[in-house]
């Protein structure tokens, strides 16, 4: 015993390690697992109804399954603030809210009227990444989560993947907390937020592996379990909500979004339909052209005192499909044969007219998705400032900017 004490006093660090280990092991052994007392949220829906918020939380329920599906629970609660509503929702579930795995926030159109205010809680919360996707919906966020719950349980195509897909292939804009706050702070003050609708036509949600439960415990605005009221489907046509200074300025339909995407280098694929096209080979055909390898260069300049921006597009178009009623050519001919000068001219005209038409709509919303403000300010700060000060309303600077598009279609 004496030797043991002598040994210990000469090596106090060993005594310390023993004390800490003994304390830790026993305290860890008696503690329950975190999933027992924490609700792990994957998605949150925020509905603004008058001055109140209704928050719907999609929480992961850990349970053993044989078919590798994930189980989720949908719970709703109302409160004067999102913090209060979230706490209530957690109380209804009997767990503490854990936001570290949050991937999506769904808001209704009323909540998107001042989106920076709506997202204030999530922006301040450290564990919520600013890369969390934001979705705007035409119905309530609660109904949206209810109807898309089966998608979450299959984990095959959830809303986050749809938003990421839109950012890469459709709109060219990220739709997350970071982009919303950027729009509130940057000079051009504009961003697009994904607008996913519940409609009569779209993705069928009645999958076979629907093992998700949609129970909720207590509280107002509960979701029902297992009922399909109306057969509503998730529709992602690429529509967006235009945010100016963090507020909803309007909705841009999918056609306009795709037309504007010609000016964005980020979107991967674009295509054009030439309607009623005729040349020596084709008669009254619909020709579908797909863009390959698009490069977009934007250049700001001043034509006297008028601020101008020139888009220089360089791309290669391939004939992907020809739809012809009175088929003159029945056999397949390689794509390059069809892409002649007339087709090239018509394609350029179509791209320009589509882009200018959709750009007019953006101007009406006073939105600046292409950062013209920064480009013009960098080009000639004094001239741009003079232009801004000459306007009756400085917010309407987009209306006086002239946009020109030049297209170079490279030969195959």
């Amino acid at each position: 015993m004496k030797k043991f004490f002598e040994f210990s006093f000469k090596r106090p660090i060993l005594v310390l390690i023993f004390i800490i280990s003994a304390f830790s092991i026993f305290s860890c052994a008696i503690k329950p697992s975190q999933s027992t007392n924490h609700a792990i949220l994957r998605a949150v829906g925020v509905d603004k109804i008058g001055d109140e918020y209704e928050v719907s939380i999609l929480s992961f329920t850990s349970s053993s399954t044989q078919n590798f599906s994930e189980n989720y629970t949908l719970t709703s609660a109302k409160g004067e603030s999102i913090t209060q509503a979230l706490q209530l929702a957690g109380d209804y579930l009997g767990k503490q809210i854990a936001l570290a795995h949050l991937s999506t926030i769904v808001v209704n159109l009323q909540a998107s009227e001042n989106l920076t205010e709506t997202l204030d809680y999530f922006a301040r919360e450290y564990v919520v990444n600013n890369s969390t996707n934001i979705i705007c919906t035409n119905t309530t966020a609660k109904e949206f989560l209810e109807k898309t719950l089966p998608l979450e349980s299959e984990d095959s195509s959830n809303e986050s993947n749809i938003v990421t897909h839109n950012a890469k292939f459709v709109t060219g804009f990220d739709s997350n907390i970071e982009s919303v706050y950027e729009s509130a702070n940057k000079p051009s003050r504009t961003t697009f937020v994904s607008y996913l609708k519940l409609a009569d036509e779209g993705v069928d949600l009645s999958g076979e592996n629907n093992s998700a439960s949609s129970d909720s415990s207590g509280g107002s605005g509960n979701s029902e379990s297992g009922q399909k009221k109306e057969d509503k489907k998730l529709e992602n046509d690429g529509s967006v909500v235009v945010l100016v200074k963090g507020k909803n300025a309007g909705i841009l339909e999918s056609e306009d979004v795709r037309n504007l995407s010609w000016g964005t280098p980020n979107t991967k694929k674009s295509n054009i339909n030439l309607q009623n096209y005729s040349d020596e080979n084709l008669q009254d055909a619909t020709v579908v052209l797909v863009c390959q390898g698009r490069r977009v260069k934007k250049e700001a300049y001043f034509d006297g005192d008028i601020p101008c921006v020139k888009f220089s597009l360089s791309m290669q178009l391939d004939v992907m499909e020809i739809l012809q009623k009175n088929a003159l050519i029945k056999t397949y001919i390689p794509k390059t044969t069809h892409f002649n000068d007339k087709m090239r001219r018509d394609a350029k005209e179509k791209i320009k007219s589509d882009f200018y038409t959709s750009f007019e709509k953006i101007k009406q919303l006073n939105a600046d998705p292409f950062n013209f403000y920064e480009m013009l300010e960098k080009k000639d700060k004094n001239k741009f400032k003079n232009y801004i000060y000459s306007l009756e309303n400085q917010e309407d600077y987009m209306k006086g900017i002239k946009v020109v598009m030049e297209i170079n279609l490279r030969k195959n």
């Binding site: 450290y126 890369s131 970071e178 950027e182 940057k186």
Partner: protein, 401 residues
Amino acid sequence: MKKEISSRQLGILIFISMLGFKLTFLPASLYKYARTDGIISFFLALIIDLICFVLVFITFLRNEDVSFSAFLEKRIGMFFAKIVYFLFFIFFIFKLFFLISAGIYFVKEAIYEEGTLSLFLFLFLLTINSLFLFKINAFSRTVEFFFPMIFFVLVFIIVLGFLTSNFHSLTPLFVRNSSEIFNGTFRNFISFGDFIFILPFMGKVNFEKIKTNVIKFVCYALIILSSFYIAYFSFFKYTAYMHFHAITDIIEFVPLAAIIENLDWLPTTLMLTIFLFQGPIYLFVVVNSLYNITKTRKFSYDKRFILIPFNIIFILLELLLFYGAISMLVLSQQVASFVCFAISVFVSILCFAISFIKKKTERKKHYIVKLYNEDLKWISEMKNFNKKLAIKKSFKVGGAK
């Protein structure tokens, strides 16, 4: 003097001291004063810091075998030496307070929100004190061991951030007033000025390849910090005020599968390691300064005895006065940053200047050597002392007169 650490270990300690707060709170704090020109404020502070480093390093190189206390006492006297030590004490005690508060705040948010202050204080102080008690050579070896991990993780985080985040152009710069830029620099100087910690290490470092090693590690730190700040101000050009924990936020856009979800455990581990290595460096200087202030020619004691009262007072002050990183941050941006700036610049210039003062000459000891040949005849004379006498024969000691 006994050389306790190698030049490579000193270089690594300098590298670690240059990180710390600069990877967490500093970028958001600079943005608060100078917006996107915060990066100009940062580089301005870095230039001032480097100038101080050059002065301090030259002083260090000129005194290979002299301890810092001997260096000061022989040049400016014991009283003024104690004043310099007092300045060191003020500088590093405040940095230690800020380090502990910032570290606890970071850990509370990143790891365990429900943890109490006493738990974190206990863990931090226990680790820092233990590393101090291991003595400087064991602590330096520990830091040297972890250095490759720290370096690799830092580079990985910065590269990952560049690959996954949206890059905005840094221009236009110099949009804000010069007063805002300078304000950003001086109000955040608490995160700079650490170089002066190498002065108390004077005489304890092996000078083999010291210039190569120290300059190499300083360059590594400069490259990493520059890349980090360019990355941060590019990604968060308009939203930097939301990203208080810079190192964890630059990789939050990495698209990961649900099974991993977040990579922020990587920067969290990194920052914990850096905080726990910076703490003993500050503690070493604080204890050394306290010891040199309190010792006299007749009275000296084991420095380790300072730890117990120091820790008790530190804990009480931390609990009562300096609780919370936000209150510390506000305090640091008011008087404390200017005090830190003044001390680091003044000490660097002072030590550089006094290194050129000749030491008080000591009375030369004279030796008189008498050589006798076999005939016991005194063959050397005083006037012949300057000549070199080759001793070819051995002489018997003792013997007949």
